[in-house]
Subunit: 215 residues, 2 copies
DNA sequence: TATACAATAGCGAAATAGGGTGATATTAAA
DNA sequence: TTTAATATCACCCTATTTCGCTATTGTATA
């Protein structure tokens, strides 16, 4: 008994859809268990025809491929979804990943490329067209390191401690107690902090401190 | 005149290093402009031998490939760095991307795979081994959607507005003015907000609101 | 039709925060 | 050695915040 990778196709372009079906039906190790132009009966299709991999177009009439991906992942988490598109849109890429796509390839891929990609996702990998992968890495970097504190504010070590306790929601008295100094000293520090941060209240200072990662 | 992709290699394993050198020197369109076992003289090497792509091992004696990647990106931002490793470590992947690696491949790649990957990075893409790409996507998802507000707090719409303005550093009076109601109304709302959030001061509320993404 | 909740508003008292000014001791830099 | 920055503390005064309690209105909901 040979293990087949069962693939379901969602692709609105009829010619492409039939090409995929033909390719999968005539390649060893692959089977096409359905090919549909839109996602109108998607959940029923998936429930009736078990499959391992879904080849999902993004641009489709009705529900788009990203929303469809999200739905499939919710009800059939074991299915690997290979998203394909003609566009490089950052929003597409970002949303497709968040929706749970397991791979993301460009439509310019060769027939063998498709088969390779389907094998890759089935094996637990995530084939990504290099051009798209570059965008993924850029997005990753942008989102994950939103610039270290652009401004330094030149807070002293004691001021930083006070600011931290202020962010923790402590009152002047409590901060004073924790740092073993007089409440008036804390008041003085906080005045200086406000001046350096150009704010005039605790809430403003806390807000800025958190957003600028001063704490 | 043919355009060559000039590649510099950093790889501590002598056999691998020489294999790469041989492969690049004997493949059309590629040139090896240097192959070193560590990064001790890296910056000088790069300054003296212009190159387009660096093939960088992660595990090396002395400076590791990730730190080296960071340094190269700082001084030679036009150079594309292709990182390779034998390990699937999430930390490696994460840090390599943040350091500015343009591609990330496993050492099990075939000779042709290396040449393809080098061509890909030079063309502005980011070849990533599917297995690693899967980890990248997982990391991406984990880091970017750090759980929606675990607690709901059941704030009303008006209370949310008030909280937002409080986070913006506004005083009771200013909030009242912006929402066209009496200051005492804001006082009431804030009392209710504090009760729902289990806090007792503006700074605490702002801190919690930002950290729990209520705003 | 009661009941609950949201939004509104007011009153009073106590606590806290914030602005200003000034002083002292210590330490680091010019 | 003078100067500048830091950390400390005090006093005065006002504004703001916080807590409690009460109360009205409109809108859903049981």
């Amino acid at each position: 008994m040979i293990s087949l990778i069962r693939v379901m196709i969602f692709e609105d372009n009829k010619h492409l859809r039939e090409t995929f079906r033909f390719l999968l039906s005539n390649s060893n190790g692959f089977a096409c268990v359905g090919a549909y132009p839109d996602c109108s009966d998607m959940m029923e299709n998936l429930a009736e025809n078990p499959c391992d991999v879904v080849l999902m177009d993004i641009e489709m009439p009705g529900m788009n491929g990203i929303e469809a991906t999200r739905l499939i992942r919710q009800s059939f988490p074991h299915i690997n979804i290979l998203v394909q598109t003609v566009f490089f849109e950052d929003d597409y890429i970002f949303n497709a990943i968040c929706a749970g796509a397991s791979g993301y390839i460009l439509k310019s891929t060769t027939p063998d490329g498709y088969l390779e990609a389907i094998k890759d996702v089935q094996a637990g990998g995530s084939p990504i067209t290099p051009g798209i992968a570059r965008r993924v890495l850029e997005l990753f970097k942008d989102k994950l390191q939103p610039a270290p504190p652009a401004k330094e504010y030149n807070l002293t070590t004691q001021e930083k401690k006070v600011l931290q306790l202020l962010v923790a929601g402590k009152s002047y008295k409590m901060i004073a107690a924790e740092l073993f100094v007089a409440p008036d000293t804390i008041k003085s520090h906080i005045s200086n902090i406000y001046a350096k941060l150009h704010v005039h209240s605790g809430t403003e200072a806390v807000s800025l401190a958190i957003r600028d990662r001063l704490v």
